[in-house]
Symmetry: D3
Subunit: 251 residues, 6 copies
């Protein structure tokens, strides 16, 4: 798997025209009492590396080092290392601009943290207006037709960490009840975003109970996330490899 950090600049430059550049992004933030701060970054990297291993170099992907910090202002009450929204936008814009300057025409950002999602999608929309590129973005947990609500530091992430980094998973404690339940646990209406000040600090650090996570369930969930990302990369390649050649010079 070609890693940009280990390649020389001529190898990088030589791959730019045809390869897809892939940037994983994550966060450093509280994940309840039993998961580590870097959970989102580690999971994004693990799913990416699993998918790239499965693809076996077809299509060709140049993997960038992960951005280990994300946008986690709602977790600053609990030791997060957070970039402001404008900062994360600027980082993504600078990385995209650097890659386009080098000659990359196709870039994919793979995200592991919910708080980065809109910022990332906005970043690829913005940059694709400025240069003749095809850009893609996804959160590994919401890819594919069987994507489930991933939650935060609950069953889903605990299961995946049991698969990817079992040594870093401590014993989860049962989740405390809070009344009324936090708005993100019971969304008032489909399609309506509701944000209430102080909700995370009030609700404790997780969205659902982690005690039901298991190693076996984690392995299956993890395998499905890896497959979905591999499929998404193939789909992005198909949608842009041929048509890009087809369209060359028209845009």
């Amino acid at each position: 798997m070609p890693e940009l950090t280990r390649m020389t600049w001529r190898e990088t430059s030589g791959a730019a025209r045809t390869a897809i550049a892939l940037l994983p992004i994550g966060s450093q933030e509280q994940h309840s009492g039993h998961l580590p701060m870097g959970t989102d970054t580690m999971l994004a990297e693990a799913v990416v590396d699993g998918a790239l291993a499965g693809l076996g170099g077809d299509p060709q992907v140049v993997r960038l080092p992960a951005l280990p910090f994300g946008h986690s202002p709602h977790h600053l009450f609990a030791a997060a290392v957070s970039l402001r929204a404008a900062t994360l936008q600027a980082v993504l814009d600078d990385v995209l601009d650097s890659l386009a300057t080098t000659g990359f025409r196709r870039v994919l950002i793979v995200n592991g943290h919910g708080g980065n999602d809109e910022i990332m999608r906005l970043a690829v929309k913005q940059y694709s207006l400025r240069a003749d590129v095809a850009l893609a973005a996804c959160s590994y947990f919401s890819l594919g037709t069987d994507a489930a609500t991933p939650g935060h530091a609950g069953m889903f992430e605990t299961s995946l960490m049991l698969a990817a980094h079992p040594d870093l998973v401590r014993e989860p404690a049962p989740r405390p009840e809070v009344t009324p339940p936090p708005l993100f646990a019971e969304p008032p209406y489909p399609g309506l975003t509701v944000e209430r000040h102080g909700e995370w600090a009030r609700a404790g650090g997780s969205t659902d109970d982690a005690t039901e996570a298991s190693t076996a369930g984690g392995a299956e969930l993890f395998g499905r996330r890896v497959s979905a990302l591999a499929d998404a990369i193939r789909a992005f390649d198909r949608a842009t490899r041929e048509s890009h050649a087809h369209l060359e010079g028209t845009a």
Copy 2:
């Protein structure tokens, strides 16, 4: 229906503690050859006014004048009047900050233009970190369990305009074929955002065929959008009215 623009400042100030402030936002951008530039703004306003009429003052809502301009950089090839993403973020942040300064605790933004969606959701997330408020945001077309893909200047919007502003709908022309189809017409993979430079200019101004829109179908679609928004407003009120009282002083 209380409109902020027609109220005195004491009326506004007096309503702030209990009422929901509602800001419609839209765009001025190409909507193919048969719909007017202000389609998104007019539809957001029409759905909002329909929903508020239906609610009959319960819950109490103070409606702000619509922001008639949105983020439409992908339509600048075709006469759009567009705010940059940072500008729209700033406008929404300033409006939310003003309302919170006045004493409003609950604000809802109702959007009529796809290009505003992430920026609006990000704006309410950001501002809810800074003040003790409960903020909501939605796009009128993606509310409720039966929300369909609305498209742009195609069957959906043409139908709604036939219901809301029939005098402004010209005869739609059949949609030209483009090969390969634009990425937004055939998304490569569920959950994957893909943006290709120049796609809108290449694809023409609409996402699907408007010729099948009808007055009868428009009336039904419009009625459902109005109902969904009214339901969403009631749900937002329920979720924040009582719990807000309950939580008073804790956040």
Copy 3:
């Protein structure tokens, strides 16, 4: 009167080369106890629409929807919905840039709120450096040789609202005395701007007494404002239509 919001993009694009694009801007802010929050926006729109009706299409003007929010930080103590100076600058810059991209060569901003005045004039200066355009800006109340000091929520604005929106004018109360009088009521020296912290909150919401406003006086004042704007539009057209053709390609 061609309104951009009701035109298709091809109609807009077709008019751009020769027509003047006109953007009204206003505010949402306290206007004492008897005038509504949207007074400045409504008056700017009323004067604009009166002037355009009087011009009868010569010169051709494409009227944009009004920006309903302005820069009113000095009224945030009293329910204003205010854009920061940098935000308003950005909005005006984006609108001007969009219009120039569409092909408009001549744009006029008509303002209804004192707090927007410098920002608006600065915006047209700045943008005219960047593109080959001729830009104009005015506040409707200070146009022409007989322009009087308009004040805020006093005799002038109350009179105009009696002419334009009599149903929205409540009974004005006599203005309370404050000692010392606010600096904006007694400017210390001609040409000297003096700003003292907290002056508006201290002085109450108006600059002079509204009780002398009358329907008859309002009609006359309103008619003169409409005429002055119509004259200014004609003068802008004369100054830029011929010379622009004359200069074509030289700048």
Copy 4:
């Protein structure tokens, strides 16, 4: 005359509560073929120093060193050293904030360059919202009831330079005719700002003919500008010294 640059910090700090801090601002830009680049800065300083000499320490004024650079983007075709509008705003905001931090309650900015005028007035408006201060701003050429249109590098400025820095005045050449005349020479309508791209480069470097300037006329004009500024400073002092004491603690 107390100059901040020559005072120790304790002298500065000790004067802050009662004295008026005064900041001259100017520009470095083309002034036709016969006046030096620093004309605006030198004239602002000369008028300030004349006025302060005349006042003889009553009221007490602490004079800051002049900001020698201003906002002259329209003269960048001709060797200007120009600050962008946002930069000049930031410089003025930082200076005002520093002075308020030191304890100054009253600050006056005296400007010598037309292009700085709106930015300066906006800066004092903005800053007076943030701290309990009374701020004033003026352009030395538009003070008082007999203020005339000063023009640029024409009769007015040449006359003043003959009074203040005769050794720096070269022989003026007659002004070339340009057709059509520049918009700033023939404003289309009172109260209407019109800006056309490239107007200064087209019109040559001055607004009117400098050949009629004389030493005698310059001395009289200069004396009147000095008197007007001295009067304005006295007026600012009267308006804010007593009332400020009166209001102490209320704002």
Copy 5:
């Protein structure tokens, strides 16, 4: 060695009051034909991890994940992934602000890339004005009394990479001569910074010849860099641990 990415938030929060937080920063940029893009990041991490291993937990240090991207605009001609200066400033400011919010009082940034140096030192100066913290910053290559000029992709970095990541070092080619020599190779005067446009592209990718690097020399150089950093961490701890206790509450 406590790594923040592997710690839970309570472990992080618990360590904040007494531990030093350490952030490595690097770059992704050309390092001639024989060293990988991530050289600066890898070397910063290797020196940090060597020093922390040597310190054995005294003083206590919480190591953050490295920021893998730096400010490399001068290498954008050759495949760099570069953050603009303002972006890197924002990232560092956000990280420092997050750590201070968590309760860290002492933070050290260890840099591996020359282009980050001023930005990093400026960042700690700026942030230390805003919060009651003691912040330190260094580039691993310029620490201690025996610090040599490190160069770029020449003898120094090649030697260190032979020690830290020998598998990633390709065969260096002799360095091409360029006439005149680049300014960074022959600085015109001690203490004078001189920057000439296009110098790196003209000079090739390195500052000096890498062919003399050896495994043995690399091991010694690497060991000295590790010792110097360990000494610097001890010195920072001594200077701030006691005095901070001593000063508690005074600043």
Copy 6:
């Protein structure tokens, strides 16, 4: 000595291609009880003027008026007039951009204030990426092989002020002891920047004792600073005059 402020624009423009433009920058900040606020600006100007007089026009230098304000946030507790870092960056960027627009190819910034140093060096690095120029920057006190640590308001600056502006030097008082000594007085480790909140306010206004400064010592120190700057200007000229001609058109 050609001063830009006294030159006409054609003289400026004519000199641009070959001359070096030189911008002095300083500060207005506390310099203990015996030196004036403008010390840094006055010393930068005095050293510059001494060096230019010594050079006698070879190489040709166009001297800009000094920027009298610098970045002194650490002295805001004591009457400084300070620009924020971003503001100073913007000012320097705007000045460099203006000069390059005029046609200057070589610019030198000479600084008199430690707090400006990184910002100035960063500014010339940044701007040299954008235009085909050769830019230099130095602090007058750290030029040459015999540069000593200058300190602040201590022996070094007091000595130089005795040479340059003896009338502005008051009697220095002995420096109070503070325990522990400030970090800038005893740097913990070579190459390590350490910044502690509140250090300047705690340490008093100077870094070392000024009572040993003497007129004779000042004259010698001043002469050496003047010589070093003259040498640096000659070296900058040599390094860029010939090679620039040599390279013309290649970058």
